[in-house]
Symmetry: C2
Subunit: 417 residues, 2 copies
């Protein structure tokens, strides 16, 4: 369950019925017309689970696999990585996810050294099919592990890509197992499609519960039972000139990769030339508590008043680790915390920091996750995707494309050709 | 060696002799009066190396140690972690650095599980001596590993803290080896003091070369041989109303922790109430290339024109990994990169992205590191420390304190007392 705490008066004062109703109608139309596909993934992706169960029976190699290796970048890796980081501390099946994301030679060589062919399944993910980092790394893996596409080795490979893409044609050519993602789902909204569901399922996560958590939030939103998200979108939009930066301050190391996923979603969806030809957008920042109290917090408190701060905390870490009831000579002033659990300490730090920000008159709100589990993870993903779509509708931008990154690709091509 | 590439006309046009001379004089005074201690660390910290050599001979336990475990947060961990991440891919002595930074119970439990008592040396670092996260974790470690302060176990401990602090008094009480840091060196400027030098030395890094790299840059600055840094500080200061956000886009996974160190340095030093009572500061963002081309880049290119971007690239990764000369059916359009090294690819991506940003008329500059080695690492640290001091002097703030984070601590205390 997600619980929302916010400065009611602050958010309610910004509320604008017309603005909110219009944005709500945009999202309803996106969903019902099937122009935007992510809203329906919690239902449509259930089919993938059925297909995976059949596939598992047909591929005997899978029973021995320990390493699920994702080769993908951006929207093809950030989502599965975020979910894995949130949930892996409870996993006990011995299966591990690995990610090849970057074109950094040191990073690629390090990850290759962690793997062996016998225990690994390689999932190459590229929506367009031709992502240069991904295909280059894929070739490197084929070479490094001496993978023969004409042999049973092909069973170690899965391709996830748009139907008909060049990667899809390649997979068909070599009888490599292929999954597609819906054409109306963009990369950064694709975590609940095959792109995220397949690696997470194969690593042993309960993806059905993940999808159900997302579905529950999605339904409560379209049934207009989630007023908080509408108020928040409205506040962010109406105050966008003053509060240009939106900080996500997550009090758990397990949420660090979720923050990276959020940064892509928010930055790439909203940073756009709008329909009136203005350059608009909001700057996302991901912080980790309590550590970043000793870093970025000073700037929030005493720097320019241009940031909103959303805290995320975990009510129950399901971990009993406590500060021992130990008094050390000369360090007695720290004894006030003795016997408390770290669970209590980190949540008290979150509350104290939130209060210090509110005392500075900056807008702050908090999302409390009852536990780090599949259901909450799904809900949190859907919450942020819908929030992004709402603000995008208010900003009057195309939330789902990314034309600004094409120029760099063209320049790169020219450098090598 | 560091090489600087910038848009000469852009930066030169912003140049203001008076402003730059005044800031330069402020830094000269900070250094010569010894009011600010970090400038001299490359010389004064050489003594620590001598002390460590003596200590190594006196503590037979050290010869068996494999895990150097740092317990510290913020300025007490970010610096050593940044250097370790930049350099560890070349390390071959089998010694590893571990960091306990956060009060997250899952994170603490995971790190505890990686360690055993026999192979570990624990370094507790707190400038003030009473940092609540650090002392709480320290007590947890004492309890978990059943460390008896009255026994030889005390030889597994080192304390780094201000002379006379409560942690210093505790260390004296139990004959725990203690090192101090100069009182005129703040946490976020302390990486080249005992705080960074001791864990890095014990992990096997060549800290003398690290210090020399820093010294070389420091001297070239005060000998006014480094015009780039003055131009850049001036540009950032004079355009601070328009360009409120400073992005560091580092094209190497090995620099991710350096970016976190930069974020603390920049955010916490410059986010201040200035002497005229205005809330000032600049927002730091750390990105990793090429992955964040698929994330934050869209916002830079098409979003509000409020960001400067500094690229960092590594000229020679000292890694020969290449994209195999392999043509895969249907994927032939990616063959243009075949046979190239990843070293070439990632640097070409960096150049292409920089050019696409310049084509958008946003200010971009680039710092090229010849190699990821101790000397360059020291130079890069000193470069950013001096840049921060320069901009702080121009902004007329106290670059070296952090009063804004105290309120949260007071609220936390009240919650538990």
């Amino acid at each position: 369950m997600l619980k929302f705490t916010e400065n009611q008066s602050l958010f309610a004062n910004a509320f604008d019925d017309t603005l909110v109703n219009n944005a709500f109608e945009v999202l309803k139309e996106e969903k019902s017309s099937d122009r935007v596909g992510y809203y329906n993934l919690p239902s449509t992706s259930l089919e993938i689970i059925e297909a995976l169960k059949v596939y598992e029976k047909s591929n005997e190699l899978l029973s021995t696999i320990k390493n699920i290796v994702v080769i993908g970048i951006g929207g093809s890796s950030l989502g599965a990585k975020a979910v894995d980081s949130m949930l892996k501390h409870k996993k006990q099946n011995g299966k591990k996810l690995f990610f090849f994301e970057n074109s950094d030679p040191v990073n690629i060589a390090n990850t290759l050294n962690c793997l062996d062919k016998e225990n690994s399944l390689f999932i190459v993910i590229s929506k367009s099919g031709g992502t240069i980092e991904t295909i280059s790394t894929f070739k490197t893996i084929l070479h490094h592990f001496d993978i023969d596409l004409q042999s049973d080795d092909a069973k170690r490979l899965i391709a996830i890509t748009d139907n008909g893409s060049i990667l899809s044609q390649f997979a068909s050519e070599f009888n490599i197992k292929e999954f597609n993602l819906p054409l109306n789902v963009g990369g950064r909204f694709s975590v609940l499609s095959s792109v995220g569901i397949i690696p997470l399922y194969l690593a042993g996560y309960d993806v059905e519960t993940l999808l159900n958590g997302a579905k529950e939030f999605e339904q409560s939103f379209f049934n207009t039972e989630s007023k908080e998200i509408l108020e928040k979108a409205c506040f962010i939009y109406k105050n966008r000139e003053q509060y240009r930066t939106n900080v996500l301050f997550a009090y758990s190391n397990s949420l660090e990769d979720f923050s990276k996923w959020f940064v892509q979603l928010w930055g790439e969806s909203l940073g756009k030339i709008d329909k009136d030809n203005n350059k608009v957008g909001l700057t996302p920042i991901g912080l980790t508590g309590a550590v970043d109290q000793h870093s970025f917090l000073q700037l929030i408190i005493e720097g320019p008043e241009d940031k909103t701060v959303t805290f995320i905390n975990v009510e129950d870490f399901e971990n009993e680790l406590s500060i021992p009831d130990m008094s050390l000579k000369h360090l007695e002033k720290t004894d006030f915390i003795n016997g408390k659990s770290f669970n209590e300490l980190i949540n008290a730090q979150c509350d104290a920091t939130m209060q210090s920000i509110e005392d500075t008159n900056l807008p702050a709100d908090k999302i409390t996750i009852s536990r780090l589990d599949e259901s909450n993870c799904g809900a949190l993903i859907m919450y942020y995707e819908i929030l992004t779509s709402l603000v995008g509708a208010m900003l009057n931008v195309n939330t789902y494309n990314q034309p600004g990154v094409e120029l760099g690709k063209v320049i790169l091509d020219k450098k090598f050709k």
